[in-house]
């Protein structure tokens, strides 16, 4: 076969970039430009699908940097393949949606928008496929930088401020904590490669591991563990497609993915269990879940509410990583997938509502569901999935996380997850509920908005449902990573 796994690895990075170049070149003719985005997204998804199919081969590409002991590398393993698949799959849907949204709202600088979008996707692919911390760090930073113009897209004072907070927190934490942690890892272990069983396992004492763990967890600011979360709500000044893909999928998922990967491959379950900090971090994550939910509940702005909901949901992954039992890690990995599909649905619905009605405040959305049934229906499905109800995908991560917590006896964390479900009901369901069951607004919109803004959330909502039934293949794919015996 012409297409070798190694080529596909590189192609995953290059396809979006080339797409971006074409998008930039075709900026004058919007239809062709969007065509380029779509073609790139489809090609990328095909490529990633191929990668997923050859994950078993563990292809890798390593570039050693001289005698420095450092290297750049790409390597395919199930977690990364999973993240790549999620990001690339949702990119297609989101591209459609972006077109509908950007045109529906007559946004300016659309070419710049789409170009940086492709770069961000490339960076996300890089994070997914990197084989060591250094490479991951690099793409992580690239992701931050490439999304900065997207966050600041509107160009007014508010968005500049939000973008500045976005950038300063993400760069600050990554350089301030993550980089030192990587340096220390390199120093201690002599490499930063992701290693099955944990690179530092056996190399670092639990105390040292604790310090490193704290640095890693807070250094990966994209995981938005409180108190390094404020970038996320502030990033909501971005156009909704950005919020949808990047702040529901690519960026935040890159964050929690990194957390998961670091805890799985750098520390390894044994070391995390031995490190005293992991308990505290799990507690911080649990508090994060609850506090963010409460803040979400008190936000009347829909995107802000969703942002805090994201903060809350991301902490699930952190909890899973800190419990570090195989089942908990599996749950954390599943949470990346399931939450991505559900949350992107919610964000896209928020954008579709905005596109159709220019409404951003939840209290203004009563009865809108009667006029936009598909959008609100999709929102409801997404909400159910986030709450973790069957038959929606969001149930599984919760199940596995709880099983993980039960297996290590951390029952109080189960309590946090339970509380979270209830709070989720409280802040998510009123939106579609009031949309459908309150009287329709007397004046206002006639049409449910552009097709391209309405269809994508419906697709992802369907996806969130289908994923519930696809759990078997997913766990088969992931279980070996964590040593889960099914």
């Amino acid at each position: 076969m012409m297409w070798s796994p190694e080529i596909a690895l590189l192609a995953a990075l290059i396809i979006p970039v080339i797409g971006g170049v074409f998008v930039g070149l075709l900026g004058k003719t919007p239809n062709l430009r969007e065509g380029a985005t779509l073609v790139a997204s489809v090609l990328l998804a095909l490529n990633v699908a191929y990668l997923v199919s050859v994950t078993g081969d563990r292809p890798e590409l390593i570039y050693e940097i001289g005698s420095t002991g450092l290297a750049f590398g790409l390597k395919l393993e199930p977690l990364g393949a999973l993240f790549a698949a999620v990001a690339s799959g949702l990119w297609i849907v989101n591209s459609l949606y972006s077109i509908g949204y950007m045109r529906g709202n007559n946004e300016k600088n659309q070419t710049r928008f789409f170009v940086f979008f492709t770069i961000a996707i490339a960076a996300a692919m890089g994070v997914a496929l990197s084989s060591n911390l250094l490479t991951m760090f690099l793409f992580y930073e690239a992701l931050t930088l490439s999304t900065y113009p997207l966050v600041a897209h509107k160009g007014d004072a508010k968005s500049s401020r939000g973008a500045a907070i976005y950038l300063s927190i993400l760069l600050g934490t990554s350089i301030g904590f993550l980089l030192p942690a990587i340096i220390a890892t390199q120093y201690i272990a002599g490499s930063t490669d992701f290693t099955v069983g944990g690179l530092l396992n056996g190399e670092a004492s639990p105390m040292v591991a604790s310090v490193l763990l704290v640095l890693f967890i807070f250094g990966i600011g994209k995981a938005a563990l409180m108190p390094v979360h404020p970038w996320l709500p502030n990033a909501m000044v971005a156009p909704t497609p950005v919020s949808a893909l990047l702040h529901a999928v690519a960026v935040v998922k890159a964050g929690v993915f990194a957390v998961l990967k670091v805890s799985t491959y750098i520390f390894g379950p044994e070391l995390i269990a031995a490190a005293p900090a992991s308990d505290w971090l799990a507690w911080i994550a649990a508090l994060s879940i609850v506090a963010a939910s409460i803040i979400a509940m008190s936000s009347n702005n829909l995107k802000r509410r969703l942002a805090f909901s994201t903060v809350s949901q991301l902490s699930y992954v952190t909890i899973g990583a800190m419990i570090a039992a195989p089942l908990a890690l599996l749950g954390a990995a599943l949470q990346i997938v399931m939450h991505a599909w559900a949350k992107i649905t919610l964000f896209m619905c928020a954008g579709a509502i905005y596109t159709a009605s220019k409404k951003t405040e939840i209290s203004d959305m009563r009865g809108l569901g009667r006029l936009m049934p598909w959008t609100f229906g999709a929102f409801a499905v997404g909400a159910f999935s986030i709450i973790g109800l069957p038959p929606f995908g969001g149930m599984w991560p919760k199940l596995y996380l709880m099983m993980g917590a039960a297996s290590t006896g951390q029952l109080a964390l189960i309590g946090a997850l339970i509380l979270s479900s209830i709070l989720n009901v409280g802040y998510l369901l009123p939106i579609p509920g009031r949309g459908f069951f309150d009287p329709a607004p007397k004046e206002g919109l006639k049409k449910p908005g552009p097709m391209l803004a309405v269809l994508p959330p419906v697709i992802t909502a369907a996806g969130a449902t289908i994923l519930f039934f696809l759990i078997g293949p997913l766990t088969d794919f992931l279980a070996p990573v964590f040593g889960v015996e099914l």
Partner: protein, 105 residues
Amino acid sequence: MSETKPSRKRKKTEDEIHPVSRLFLWVEKPSVHFIFLIFLGIASFGLGALDFLHHRHEYVDWAEWHGFYAWFGFGGFALAVLAGWPLRKLIGRPEDYYEKAAGDD
């Protein structure tokens, strides 16, 4: 919920009575009520009196007292109903108690 507005026209109310119901209009008569009361009283005592003729077997022996169920039923019922007075004082609230206060979530 379909809000069917009840017809308020007094005149026609008698005409609208369901044909079957016309056969049972007697139940509204106060005298019937009284007769019913008397009948129930007699029936209660009668049923209680049956215990003198026939010994009921029960798992709980004091339930075998004569007229146990009658006394207990009467007393229990009265207790439940009469307790309603203080209970209503205690927990009764205007109908819009919750809705008035309920904010938006």
